[in-house]
Symmetry: none
Subunit: 217 residues, 4 copies
DNA sequence: TATGAATGAGTCTTCATTCAT
DNA sequence: AATGAATGAAGACTCATTCAT
């Protein structure tokens, strides 16, 4: 398996493929309802009804309602960091010089996360809502971020700061500004105003431009 | 009463001053619990307990649990738009030339919203969480935004675009980028990492800089 | 005061005249609501609202909700027996020979109770409904019946049986048949089908006829 | 199945036979308590306790407390009209000449309803009490009466009036007098004075006699 | 494995009643 | 006398979870 395949697999791996049909129905129903009404306001009986299974069946697969939530949300948190996890991705940037310039890197990440968000709106809604109330999720999030995202990002930033491409702000500030802008874009695009008329290509370009200019020396 | 006084009053008016003591205790307890555990996961009996009142007392003042939420959240939504509502503010910008340049305007808004956020973290958490699940809140939000914020913002943007201070992006794009960056800052500062070590002054400066550069022609 | 006056007074005495205005409002509201929704389904706060008084005011005049019910219902039970209580009534029948025949007696009672029912539909509804669930009311009812109604009635029945005007059934049977027919008429007329088109005079005549024929030897 | 069997089945069909054991316990407990204390004054927790089930179990079988009431009362209302619904009954009267005379018809109905009442005192109490406060029940009652009872009754009355057996009163008046007398008897016998010493056979005879004489030309 | 009846703790809300003003 | 805020027990109903089938 080439590194590219690993990367692709990570990105595309459908966790649900390994689930029994009933389980898939349960997870699907739970995703829909959690994202519509929130975890706390969704009852297991509603999930069972929408999934077309008996109430007891949910608890055969997931010990508690919270387990079901974690089973759904945990892999999403992992996937949020996927582009930074993939070895091939990291190597490409510095070794192969493909992403030599900052813009290319930004675009890769943004487009990639854009596509990811596009396909996973309900899941992202759930993460956004529930992370606030479940310390386990926060921990998991922080861990992934600290272990997978931060190191690479810091390397990128130092690298481009050394090259004089971006301002000499503290890493965390650069990080905050960039991530904030990216997430702000995706949240606006897919969650707050998903029904607006969007010229996605142009907006992506402008957002990249905004970040680049915003950070340039 | 001078215009400044009106402005200040708007900003500082404490809705809770008109409430009976028991009501204040209830509202206070509800704010704490809603922001900690979320509206749906907070029981009225818990609120009563923390407020030190009988459960029935809650319902004497608020017909339903949801009424209590709305009583708490609605004024916050209004206040979010306060700097744009205040007449004195708008006039100053264009008439008195005080905020002649874009930077000044941005700083006024950012500092002002920063102070507001600082004093209202739990309330903002509640708004952020609950807006997603309560259409009434969404409607109220949209209305305030469309009526109070949008028109002024559009005037600012056109004004500065004509002066060649900011890029010729569609209004909505400029709006999105600015608001996203501001909110992203405040959310990171007060909600995601409130316990980090922050050099607030520097961060505000950098954020303003980022926006200015990001949008400049 | 003549005996007739006493009779009249008994029939017309308005218990509510001695009540304070607030009390009258309370009683009036309670009568309306008890008869519409039943005692158990009517809340004191509803009564207070409809009466236009504070909730506490009810309890200043009536120690408990049940006291209010009893204050309303007790006098009605007494009044149900009024024609038999009035001395003048009893005397008239036998002394003055006015009601010499059975038909005259029946008509007097029926017309009199008809007028009483007509003016007191809500009160009668309440009695009918609540007697079943409040032993105090049952006791009060039985006492009045045994003390005031039964003796006179028995005298009437014996009297007419001796005269060969009515069948030689046991007193209780005659009583049951007569009372049942009278109450059945009034309940049908005023409670079950108050909105039907009634030729009251004719129905009264037919009902009397039915009883007379039904009992005649 | 002969017509008689169908008739018998209608009369005896026990709706509770199709219920699960828990459901039977619930219904049984509810019947007892509703008839003792009234629907509004009976709490679901009391029913659960007396039924020996968890409170939640009630709501698994009956969506609301009112549903439980309707499930109990609705079939009773239907059964009240059963003797008129049974085809065999109607046919017998006119075709087979069995009930040729009015007395026979009255006796059949009265004895039959007497036995029904005897076996269903608590249910009849509930109907009598709750019909007043639940429009659904009133509607259901009126419908059954209009569709099943009235037409047959009118035929009987016309038939006997043509034969000169009963007075030429309006149908509704005859109906009222007969029904009133029958119900009055049953209510007195089973609800008001169930503990008195009753010579049922004699009372039935006298009641029939009373009706016959009362209506005869 | 899947079911769904059963549970009883817990939910929001209402209630009759009290009491300081 | 009248008020109405406050109470906390009780009400109908829901919930996540269990378990016998």
């Amino acid at each position: 398996m080439t590194e590219y395949d690993a990367f692709k697999e990570l990105l595309e791996s459908d966790d649900q493929e390994q689930l029994t049909p009933k389980q898939q129905q349960i997870v699907q129903a739970a995703i829909e309802m959690f994202s519509e009404k929130g975890y706390a306001s969704t009852s297991t009986s509603e999930i069972a009804k929408r999934a077309g299974v008996a109430e007891g069946t949910i608890f055969r697969h997931y010990k508690t309602k919270k387990d079901l939530l974690l089973a759904i949300v945990s892999p999403v948190i992992t996937k949020l960091a996927v582009p930074f996890i993939a070895q091939s991705f990291v190597k490409q940037v510095f070794k192969e010089g493909e992403h030599e310039d900052f813009e290319e890197l930004l675009r890769t990440i943004l487009v990639n996360r854009f596509e990811f968000a596009k396909k996973n709106v309900p899941l992202l809604k759930i993460v956004l809502q529930e992370v606030a109330f479940h310390p386990e999720l926060q921990d998991r999030y922080k861990e992934v971020f600290r272990a997978e995202v931060l190191p690479h990002f810091e390397r990128f930033i130092s690298h481009y700061q050394e090259q004089g491409l971006i301002k000499d702000y503290p890493t965390e500030t650069v990080l905050r500004l960039v991530i904030t802008t990216v997430i702000g874009f995706l949240v606006t695009r897919f969650i707050i105003m998903p029904d607006g008329e969007w010229d996605d290509e142009a907006e992506i370009d402008r957002t990249i431009d905004y970040i680049l200019n915003g950070l340039q020396v």
